[in-house]
């Protein structure tokens, strides 16, 4: 597994996402309130636009989520599964912190 550093951990605001371009893929990286990191594909499968990193981060029944900024479908940050429509999911990517840097693997 190869890791690509994308930015300093401190650059991430709690409960907001950023987008990174990694090997031609758009990866949405989120820092939740408890400091944990999650990475999803940035492509919103409903609209076809690369926007998930700009959604609102929250929780649903305790599970961390992001809502698409276009039409508000909610995705689990843990599994990438859409919680509002069955059978829809976005890819999740491994993400970690190394030496204060956030790294993702695609």
């Amino acid at each position: 597994m190869s890791w690509t550093p994308i930015c300093d951990y401190d650059k991430l605001l709690p409960e907001r996402g950023v987008c990174a371009l990694v090997e031609g893929r758009q990866v949405a990286v989120f820092r939740t309130y408890d400091g944990a990191l999650h990475a999803l594909d940035n492509l919103d499968p409903f609209s076809g636009a690369y926007v998930l990193s700009r959604g609102i981060v929250g929780t649903r029944k305790g599970e961390p989520t992001v809502a698409s900024p276009l039409h508000k479908q909610v995705f689990s940050l843990v599994s990438g599964v859409c919680l509002d429509e069955q059978g829809v999911a976005v890819p999740v990517y491994p993400v970690r912190v190394a030496d204060g840097r956030v790294e993702v693997s695609v």
């Binding site: 930015c7 605001l13 709690p14 990174a20 371009l21 076809g48 609102i56 981060v57 276009l70």
Partner: protein, 809 residues
């Protein structure tokens, strides 16, 4: 059945035609009316004097109906089946409906020709003119309409007298005890009541100018304006001359299906004599119209008489009567200090409620009217004294809305089967509450008791409504979402509660929306201070207050659009929208705009958008006020104000209303004397004409009233509730709103004023502040690991010389 002709175009004719159309009648409908305009709302006629225009009161002509206005029908040829109009035209019919209404009764006393009546818009115009040079006015007749007319005279600045033949006022609604309490109320307001008095003569000078009213006892009441409101007489002259059967004391005789003595001719409304009665209230007349339509279309509906119950607020006094006005037993509650009189009539076995009378407090009307003819729901003294009854369970067949004949069961069906969860939903579904509105509290009660859990919880994270959260944040001085959700919620929020709380914090504190933790609460539009479009790009709308812009600024917008390759479009709010900006272009675009003096237009926010204007008196030859100047002042005052939903406004410089102010959350229309303020209008999915809140305001009064209106809305509305639905669901409606923000009935106006003062004092342009803050600016990148790289997924093609987005699939 192909041709229906309706003679008369009042509210009953309107209801008839409207019902025909809605039931799919596919023949030709012709309505012939002698007034110069289609039917209008007579229940709210008096509001014409306080600024509501004739157009506002006038009902829309139902689609498909042909109207002939200012036209009188002079004859009916029943053999040939046609009517003849005053200008000699012939209109053939298969079915004829007479809805000729009534005329005010003017007693044959000397000088009566100098007096006015109170029925049409033209009557009110004439009274208005006469009142200009008058100091005192008399209304003859102390019934419902008489008191309304007296209130109108008072509003026109006259000292008003009421002369009533009976020993007390409103003899058809209240008994002697109630009349005494009513008299006290009315005299406290400065009106004079002459009960038990008749009219001997209307005295006028040689020029025909009225000087007073002479009572039979020889005393003279000084007055320059006299208005007769002493009952109505059915307009049956056409029926009479056509040989139709009429009643001994007037009225066109109809059977229970509203059919006259001619099987092709129906009569409805105040001209019809149904079961020996003439009905002058809107509810029964509407029912007659609906029965006639049902019959015309082959049904078998019948009109079985009607509930003449009344509830009204006249001169600030609530008066109500329901059911019978006597009974074997009665129980009375009387409080002369508080001016309250309530009486219930009960059967001799003390078990059945027969009726009631209320003055000063009409709450028993709401709670007890549905129980008329049924077992008393509690001991009468409890019902009258403790205010019990407010929570009684209504039987299904109990009528809740008498104007539209809707029963409790109909409302329950709408709630249970159609999933209605609020009062506006019930109104749309059943028509209940859409005419006089007096049953709205009852509708609310039915909703609350329906068992349908109408959760006010914002989302799974907060059990509170937005209004409750607003109060919590305000009273406990909470400044962060984290504090609020830790102390009053659960979890970490979502796309529903976070923007709602962000909006509350912004309304109350007015700091930068991207400051600190608040950045994470915003929808993407607020987070990037621009509007996200379908391909993930943003559009940019600089503020153009009032729609006024210099050529230099227009050129800057053009240059920015050209240099960044943006699609440009003029918006409906008199601004210019620039589309297709990538997130990383936004700061550069805004640097150019801010340098040229532009500010954020908040097109992305639940906030004030624009105050549109017409060109106004500066240029327009019709304008009476400077609408552009006012629009700019208002837009600058309220710019940046965050609210439960977007806010739109407009200012028109004259009654032609070119700015379409009445489709706005708050709209202003210039008058000769100042400004009329309309509130709670809406275009969009469910259009709504704004209601007149106050008329002829000075600019200072206007701004103070708008300040309070906006702040009260911001405080109490639900999330994403526009002012239109907010007002519809506000208990007490427009009157209540007026009491709160114009009469300070809740004692909160100073607070609302202070809140708005804080807003205007602390406003700062969000974009200018963002450009000055490297940390905030650093978020405006497509890729955090490649800040200079544009998003390769964003692709455009050309259309009509500009870009348009291409979606990958």
């Amino acid at each position: 059945m192909s041709r229906i002709v309706v003679v008369g175009y009042g509210p009953t004719a309107h209801r008839l035609v409207e019902t025909l159309v809605s039931k799919g009648f596919d023949g030709r409908i012709t309505v012939i009316g002698e007034e110069p305009r289609p039917a209008y709302d007579r229940v709210h006629l008096t509001s014409y004097l306080s600024g509501t225009s004739a157009e506002d009161l006038t009902y829309d002509v139902p689609e498909g109906a042909v109207t002939k206005l200012s036209t009188r029908v002079t004859g009916i040829d029943r053999d040939a089946k046609h009517v003849v109009t005053g200008d000699g035209d012939v209109e053939p019919y298969d079915v004829l409906v007479l809805a000729t209404g009534s005329a005010p009764f003017v007693p044959p006393v000397p000088g009566a020709e100098h007096a006015f009546v109170y029925r049409t818009i033209e009557d009110l115009d004439a009274i208005k003119v006469a009142a200009k040079d008058a100091a005192e006015g008399v209304v003859v007749g102390g019934g419902l309409l008489g008191l309304e007319a007296a209130d109108a005279l008072r509003a026109l600045g006259l000292k008003a007298h009421i002369v009533e033949m009976s020993p007390w006022l409103m003899p058809r609604q209240v008994d002697e005890g109630g009349g005494a309490v009513l008299k006290q109320h009315i005299e406290d307001l400065g009106l004079s009541v002459h009960a038990g008095a008749g009219v001997k003569e209307i005295v006028a000078d040689d020029q025909g100018q009225v000087t007073g009213l002479l009572k039979p006892d020889g005393t003279l009441v000084d007055a320059q304006v006299v208005v007769f409101s002493a009952g109505i007489r059915p307009r049956d002259e056409l029926a009479r001359s056509s040989g139709l059967e009429v009643g001994e004391r007037g009225g066109i005789v109809v059977d229970s299906g509203m059919l006259t003595s001619d099987p092709s001719i129906y009569a409805v409304g105040e001209c019809a004599l149904a079961g020996g009665m003439i009905y002058g209230l809107v509810g029964p007349c509407n029912t007659m119209a609906e029965v006639a339509v049902d019959r015309i279309m082959g049904g078998s509906a019948t009109f079985e008489g009607a509930d003449m119950s009344t509830k009204l607020k006249l001169l600030g006094v609530e008066v109500a009567q329901f059911g019978a006005m006597d009974g074997a037993l009665d129980v009375t509650y009387m409080d002369p200090v508080g001016g309250v009189y309530k009486k219930l009539f009960i059967s001799d076995d003390a078990k059945t409620l027969l009726g009631g009378i209320c003055v000063g407090d009409a709450s028993p009307y709401t709670s007890l009217r549905p129980f008329v003819g049924k077992a008393l729901p509690a001991a009468p003294s409890d019902l009258l004294f403790s205010g019990a009854g407010a929570s009684l369970d209504l039987p299904d067949e109990a009528q809740v809305c008498s104007c539209n004949n809707v029963c409790a069961g109909d409302v329950r069906t709408a709630i249970a089967d159609k999933g209605v969860t609020d009062v506006p939903g019930i109104k749309a579904c059943t028509r209940a509450g859409t005419t006089c509105g007096s049953c709205v509290p009852m509708l609310k009660q039915l909703l609350e008791k329906s068992g349908v859990e109408v959760s006010k919880a914002l989302c799974e994270h907060f059990t509170y409504s937005r209004a409750e959260l607003f109060d919590i944040v305000r009273v406990r001085k909470i400044t962060t979402f984290s504090q609020l959700i830790t102390e009053h919620g659960q979890g970490r929020g979502c796309d529903i509660c976070k923007p709602a709380v962000a909006s509350i914090l912004a309304s109350l504190h007015n700091g930068h929306v991207l400051e600190g933790e608040r950045a994470a609460l915003q929808d993407t539009n607020d987070a990037f201070l621009a509007n996200m479009q379908k391909n993930g790009t943003y559009s940019v709308v600089p503020r153009i207050p009032g729609g006024e812009i210099t050529p230099e600024k227009l050129i800057v917008i053009g240059e920015v659009a050209r240099d960044f390759g943006l699609y440009t479009k003029i918006t409906g709010g008199q601004r210019i929208d620039l589309f297709g900006a990538r997130v990383d272009q936004l700061p550069e675009i805004w640097r150019r705009l801010v340098e040229a003096g532009f500010e954020s237009g908040h097109a992305y926010g639940k906030a004030l958008r624009t105050v549109k204007s017409c060109v106004g008196s500066t240029w327009c030859r019709y304008g009476v006020q400077d609408s552009v100047g006012l629009a700019i002042a208002l837009e600058l005052r309220y710019r940046g104000l965050r609210s439960p939903h977007k806010l739109k406004s407009a200012v028109s410089g004259c009654a032609r209303e070119c700015a379409e102010a009445r489709s706005k959350d708050f709209g202003i229309i210039a008058t000769e004397k100042g400004w009329n303020l309309y509130v709670a209008g809406n275009g969009g999915f469910k259009p709504r004409h704004a209601d007149l809140l106050a008329g002829d305001l000075s600019t200072e009064e206007l701004i103070r009233t708008i300040d309070r209106f906006l702040m009260f809305y911001i405080r109490t509305a639900d999330r994403l509730q526009r002012t239109s639905t907010w007002l519809e669901s506000l208990e007490g409606g427009l009157d209540y709103l007026r009491e709160v923000i114009m009469e300070d009935s809740l004692g909160i106006c100073a607070d609302l004023d202070a809140q708005m003062e804080h807003h205007t004092a602390t406003y700062a342009d969000e974009w200018a502040a963002t450009l000055d803050d490297p940390e905030k600016l650093s978020r405006f990148v497509s890729f955090v690991n490649a800040p200079g790289v544009p998003d390769p997924s964003i692709v455009f093609e050309q259309e009509r010389g500009q870009i348009k987005p291409v979606m990958a699939r």
